[in-house]
C-alpha cells in the first residue's frame, strides 16, 4: 500500500511539474507564432526557411566539418539549417529520423545516406510531401532523391594529383612514382589509368617521367616498405603520388625516417589530421581531397535552389552557389542527376590548421 501511495504521489508530482514546465515556454511560442503570421501576411509569398543537414551519424568530425560549411551557406541565404543525425551510422535509425523530419514539413533535406537502397522509399515519401531531397557525400539511389552532390570525378582527381606533382618536382620536372592501394582496387586503377593518359598526352606534364607504379595494399607496413624500396631503386626520384590515404601517410613517414625531406616529396589523396605532421615537416607539402565544408555548402545551396523553385530536378539547370560560383545539373547513367563539386581541394601548410577531421 505504501508503495502504491508513493507511486501515485510521484505521478502527481510529475504531472504538476510537467504542467508548469509545458505552460511557460508554450505561451511565449504561441504569441510569437501569432506575431509572425501577422508579419507574413503583410509581406509577400511565404518563403521556405527550414532545412536539415543529415550526416551519416553525429559526432563524426568529417560531417561536423561539413556542418561548418552548411552553416556558412545558411547565413548567406538567410535560412535555418539544422544539423540532425542518428547516433550510429545505421539505415534503420536514419529512416526513423528522416520520418520525423518529413512529418515536420521541412523545406529541404541534404542527406548523407547510410544505405543507398533502403532509403529510397523514405526519400520518395519526402519528395511526395514536396520536400527537396539532395544527397551529399553518400548518395541515395536516383529514384529516392532529386540531386546528388558529386564530390569528385575521375578526371579531376587525376588532374589535381599531377598538378601537385608537377609543382613539387619544380620547373625542370623529373622522375615520379605512384604508390597505390591493391593492384585490383577499381578506384585507384581508374585514377592511375587517367594519370598515365594525361602524362602521355598533355604538354604541361611532358617533363614528368613515371618510373614505376607499386602497390602497398593499403597496409601501413607494406606501403612503408614499398616507398623505401622506391628511394633505393630510383635515387633521382622527385615525387611519390599516393592516391590512397594509407599509402600517402606511410610514404611521408618513410621519407621523414630516411631523412629525404626536400629531396623526395609525397603527394596524393589524404586526410588533414593524418597528414598534418608531414605537411608541417615538409615531407608532403601539399595533398588533395574534397573539402567536406565545401561539399555541404554546395549541398545547402542546391537544396535551397530546388526548394525555392530556382531550379527543378532536370539536367541542364544552372544556379549560383555563393562563393563557389556557378553550377550545372548534369545527368549521368549511373549517378543520375548530379552536381559536381569541382576539383579536389588542395591542403597545404597555409590552410591545414583550419581543418580537424
Amino acid at each position: 500500500m505504501k508503495f502504491r501511495i508513493f507511486t501515485i504521489a510521484s505521478i502527481l508530482m510529475v504531472i504538476l511539474s510537467l504542467g508548469l514546465a509545458a505552460c511557460g515556454p508554450q505561451e511565449e511560442a504561441t504569441e510569437a507564432v501569432v506575431e509572425e503570421t501577422e508579419e507574413e501576411v503583410v509581406e509577400e509569398a511565404p518563403t521556405c526557411e527550414n532545412y536539415v543537414l543529415v550526416p551519416k551519424n553525429l559526432g563524426n568530425p568529417y560531417f561536423d566539418t561539413g556542418n561548418v560549411g552548411a552553416q556558412e551557406a545558411a547565413g548567406e541565404l538567410g535560412i535555418t539549417v539544422l544539423y540532425q543525425g542518428s547516433a550510429t551510422a545505421d539505415a534503420t535509425e536514419q529512416i526513423t529520423l528522416l520520418n520525423s523530419l518529413i512529418a515536420q514539413n521541412v523545406c529541404g533535406l541534404a542527406i548523407s545516406a547510410n544505405d543507398a537502397d533502403a532509403l529510397v522509399p523514405t526519400g520518395q515519401a519526402a519528395m511526395d510531401a514536396g520536400i527537396a531531397v539532395v544527397t551529399w557525400d553518400s548518395a541515395i539511389a536516383p529514384a529516392g532523391r532529386d540531386i546528388h552532390i558529386n564530390q569528385a570525378e575521375l578526371a579531376g582527381i587525376a588532374q589535381i594529383q599531377l598538378d601537385m606533382a608537377s609543382r613539387l618536382a619544380g620547373e625542370d620536372g623529373g622522375q615520379i612514382a605512384i604508390l597505390s592501394a591493391t593492384s585490383t582496387a577499381p578506384n585507384q586503377n581508374a585514377w592511375i589509368a587517367a594519370m598515365e593518359e594525361m602524362l602521355a598526352s598533355e604538354e604541361a606534364y611532358a617533363n614528368l617521367e613515371l618510373v614505376e607504379t607499386v602497390y602497398g595494399d593499403d597496409d601501413d607496413t607494406k606501403s612503408y616498405n614499398e616507398a623505401q624500396s622506391l628511394f633505393t631503386k630510383y635515387p633521382d626520384l622527385e615525387v611519390i603520388i599516393a592516391p590512397t590515404t594509407v599509402g600517402i601517410a606511410a610514404s611521408a613517414r618513410a621519407v621523414t625516417d630516411a631523412d629525404l625531406i626536400g629531396q623526395v616529396f609525397v603527394t596524393g589523396l589524404g586526410t588533414p589530421n593524418q597528414m598534418r605532421e608531414y605537411v608541417k615537416n615538409g615531407s608532403s607539402p601539399e595533398f588533395a581531397l574534397w573539402n567536406p565544408a565545401d561539399l555541404a555548402y554546395l549541398a545547402v545551396y542546391t537544396t535551397h535552389a530546388l526548394a525555392t523553385g530556382e531550379i527543378t530536378a532536370e539536367a541542364g539547370q544552372t544556379f549560383t552557389a555563393g562563393r563557389l560560383g556557378e553550377y550545372t545539373v548534369q545527368d549521368d547513367p549511373e549517378l543520375g542527376l548530379n552536381v559536381l563539386l569541382g576539383l579536389p581541394f588542395v591542403y597545404n601548410a597555409d590552410n591545414i590548421d583550419d581543418f580537424d577531421w
Binding site: 505504501k2 508503495f3 502504491r4 508513493f6 507511486t7 504521489a9 510521484s10 505521478i11 508530482m13 510529475v14 504531472i15 511539474s17 510537467l18 514546465a21 509545458a22 515556454p25 508554450q26 511560442a29 510569437a32 507564432v33 509572425e36 526557411e49 527550414n50 553525429l58 559526432g59 535555418t80 539544422l82 540532425q84 543525425g85 542518428s86 547516433a87 550510429t88 545505421d90 539505415a91 534503420t92 535509425e93 529512416i95 526513423t96 529520423l97 520520418n99 520525423s100 523530419l101 518529413i102 512529418a103 515536420q104 514539413n105 521541412v106 544505405d115 543507398a116 537502397d117 533502403a118 529510397v120 522509399p121 515519401a125 539511389a141
Partner: protein
Amino acid sequence: MKSQANPQNTSAATISERATRRSLTDVFKNWELLLVVLIIIVVLVNTRLSPYFLNAKNISRTSSDFMEIGLMMLPMVFIVVTGNIDLSVASNMGMSASFMGLLHNMGVNIWLAALAGLALGTLGGVLNGYLIAKVKLPSLVVTLGTYAFFRGIAYGFLGDQAARNYPAKFTYLGQGRVGGSLIPVSVAIFIGLAIIFGIILHATKFGRHLYAIGNNEEAAKYSGVPIDKIKFSLFVISGFMAAFAGLVLAARFGSTRPDNGTGLELAVITATVLGGVDIDGGKGSMYGAVLSLLLIGLLRFGMGLVNIQSQVQSTIIGLLLIVSIFLPHIGQRIAANKATRFRWKTVLAVVGIIALFVLFFVFFFWSRAPVLAEI
C-alpha cells in the same frame, strides 16, 4: 503409472496458478498503470510541443518504423518470462533477410525466397533451442555466440552487395496500407499477432508453464512441466519471428543489406523489460510489453519532432529503463520489510525517482535544438 501422474499434475497446476495470479495482481496494478499514465503524459506534452504530432499520416508513417522491433518482442516476452534471453534475434533477422535477398538476386521467385528465409530463420532458432534446451547451455552465452554467427552468415550471403528491386506485391508487406485506411499492413499484422501471443501467454497451459519455469525452474520440473520441450519451442518461435521481422524490414526498405537491423536486439529487450517483464523471469504481461512499445514509439517520434538529438533520445529511454527496473525492486523491498526502519530509504528512493523524472524533462527542454515547428 496413472496414480503417479495425477498428483504431479495437480501440483503443477497449483504452482502455475499461484504464479499467474501473483503476476497479474502485482505487476498489472503497478507497472501497466504507470505505463498508461506515462503514455498519456507523453501524448499531452508532445501535442503541446509540436503541431505535427497528432497527425494521422505522420503517426501512420512512423509507426511502421517500430514494427520489426514489435514482432521480435512478442516471442522475447515468452523467453524473458522463463528467465532466459535471446540476443541473436536481430542477427537472425539479418541472416534470413540476406538469404532471401541472395535467392532473389539469383532469380528465384520472391515468395519462394521469402519462405526459404523463414525456414532459415527457424533453423537458426532450432540451433539456439538445441544448445539451450538439449545441451543445457545458458541462453545468454548461446545467443551471444549465435548473435555474431548469424550476422557473419548474413555477410557471407550478400557481402558488400545489396538485394533490391523487390516486386511491389512483396514491398506491400512493409510499405502498404490496409485497404484505403492509414493503417500500415505491418501494424495490422503486429496487432493480430500480439493478440495471439497474449492469449497464449495469459490463457493457456503453455503460458502458465512459462511463468512456472520463470518462477522456479526446479519446482516446475518436478511438477511435470516439460521444460526442455518448452524452452526448445520458444527459441524456434523466436527464430521464426525474427525471420518474419526480417521480411517486413526488407519490404519496408525495398532492399536488403547484410547489416540491416544491426543493434535492434537491444531495442527489443528494452521494450520487453520496460513493459514490466522481469529479466529474472516469472513476471510480466504481453499487455505491458505492447504498452511499452507504444510508449517508446511515441516518445521517440515526439522527441524527433522537436529535434532532440539521437544521443539524448537514447539517454532518456535508458533512464526510463533504469526506473522500470528500479521501481519493482523497491516495491519488493517494502513488501519484504514492513518495519518502519526502512522508511527513510523509501523516501529517498521516491525522491530519487522524482528527481530522475524532473531530469528527464529538463533534458526535454534543454536539449531542444531550434524548433522548426514553431516557425
